[in-house]
Symmetry: C3
Subunit: 159 residues, 3 copies
């Protein structure tokens, strides 16, 4: 009776390159039969937003945040060499050339492999996001759920 290995990643960052790293590690770990959780918090929630605008009731501050934050995985910027949006285009071009999977596909793959995608309920509320604005198939939970998963495994990263 061998115990299942476990990998948990807190995705705090809303950068395309960091989210890519998170999802590549997650997909790798799932392929090696780890139980994997990605816990999205703060700007990392932007990777889970639907691309299309969803009509929801919001207060003024929440509308402002919603407007200023990128809508979905494909819209994220780079952590460096962003150059007003040219950087992300370059990276995506290079990735295509090398047959590397773009972020939205990495997320689909993670879901297919059974990676547990969690949105941090507290920061969802703080940033004024509504469940309907986030992609399907994700869970909502808090720090207690994160700790329960993390303390069972030893590959625990904050990205």
């Amino acid at each position: 009776m061998t115990e299942k290995k476990r990998t948990t990643i807190i995705l705090f960052s809303g950068d395309y390159d960091k989210a890519m790293a998170a999802y590549i590690i997650a997909n790798g770990a799932a392929a090696y039969d780890h139980e994997v959780t990605i816990f999205h918090t703060f700007w990392g929630l932007n990777a889970l937003r639907k691309e299309e605008q969803v009509r929801v009731q919001k207060g003024f501050l929440e509308k402002m945040f919603a407007k200023m934050m990128p809508r979905g995985a494909d819209k994220l910027g780079l952590s460096r060499m962003h150059f007003a949006g040219i950087g992300p285009k370059l990276i995506k071009q290079v990735m295509k050339k090398h047959n590397a999977m773009p972020l939205p596909q990495l997320i689909d793959m993670a879901k297919e492999q059974g990676v547990k995608l969690v949105a941090c309920q507290m920061t969802v509320d703080l940033l004024g996001l509504k469940q309907e604005e986030l992609i399907d198939g994700i869970e909502f939970a808090g720090v207690a759920a994160y700790l329960a998963d993390a303390s069972e495994g030893n590959v625990n990263l904050f990205i």
Copy 2:
């Protein structure tokens, strides 16, 4: 005889949102009875600075650093959407609305819960900070102490 679970966080970042994430995880882990250490290094030391100016002898470089770095948890900026200081105000307003604890209170709570707050001695010296400039109730230690704690637990994060 069950062993105590352990969580250690290296807080390298001096961003308000990242420090908040660090302290929320630390407080959560302490509530679930983990032994918790936050090891503050580089810009993460700014969260431990006293708000008031403290008269100490410093060289020129040290004075410059002291001047350019934010004094205390309440003064930290955001990792993104800082917008010349408007971002932090917005976040704090939103947090108030949702009854989320601001960072200085999260730090107080961590101390009350027995979270061990450590300042990295090497970077304290590098940045020219003096013990009197940092809040009370913290320890000063180095990488050896960090490793001793971290290698006993499995939730080890670098933020």
Copy 3:
């Protein structure tokens, strides 16, 4: 028969201060007899570039990346207070004053202590880097090798 402790660090960041933190932890862990791996990916690869220009065949995009990215550990910028390059100079001056080891020496020390330095093959390819452009004595591997190391230890950091 005690098992060897293990520390693995993913160095994603190309910032001088973060790379310093990574190498200080790695050297500390090696001194305490951990098996240590630093897995360099994305901008973290810049710490492994040779300082001198190496003649290699590259496509247009790869040439652009190569040009825009810092060549070697000594050329990295700071994660904050970069101030158009003044920040790194200040930090290095302060480090000299305190007899702290600069990054290139920390890397040499890591190699001497047997820290395994790995370059992520996928991002080496993405950024158009060639093996000849990177320093000697490093390995090339992927996420599978990282996970194999990380899941055996419990100090696993993403920097």
